[in-house]
Symmetry: C2
Subunit: 118 residues, 2 copies
């Protein structure tokens, strides 16, 4: 479903120029020309970058020459995905730690363990 959308969002942000555009748009809306000015690539190249951001839903415009606006809601999509697996992984590590601690307890102080034998 939104599988493809997530792919587009991540792919869009994988490019440093595009991330910089997002960064700049987070502090103020701006037209394509304004956005293009600081970079040493053609206006067309920046226009393409903006299309990628737009297709990913990260950015929108009311009409052609209107200022580009950041769509901050899309960030939630990423955050949700990230948090889900981060949390799951962390919980697992916690369980593992607990398990290790338990094993250590039931096994009284020993001289050596297989893995770190000198």
């Amino acid at each position: 479903m939104s599988e493809d959308r997530l792919s587009r969002v991540f792919a869009a942000l994988a490019d440093p120029t595009r991330r910089d555009l997002v960064a700049r748009l987070s502090s103020a809306d701006a037209t394509v020309g304004e956005l293009a000015a600081p970079y040493d690539v053609s206006l067309q190249a920046v226009s393409k970058h903006l299309k990628v951001l737009e297709d990913a839903g990260l950015v929108s415009r009311e009409s052609r020459r209107a200022p580009v606006r950041l769509e901050a809601e899309v960030f939630d999509l990423m955050t949700k995905w990230i948090e889900r697996y981060q949390q799951q992984a962390e919980e697992r590590y916690q369980r593992l730690d607990a398990l290790l601690a338990e094993m250590q307890e039931s096994t009284p102080p020993q001289q050596s363990r297989a893995e770190d034998a000198s």
Copy 2:
């Protein structure tokens, strides 16, 4: 600095297969073979995907045939980036809302506004 690292992380997660690998690794470590099994691409292809994830720092292994492990800390890098601009954008929208509200207050109820004239 870690500009390049962020690019690699986002690019790594832009691929659905790679996102699925991460998802599966979040619930349990697994070997390359185990990870490859469910997909209908070659083992080599999955091996390549894992290399991409590894280069992005999302995944690690102690040795060749050891189980692959998810490095959940990298998620923080993304989260930090996202939250920074999301927050900045939201603050800006709040200020804008406040400004509009203020303008509305100083402008007593009017019959029509330019934009939505019938």
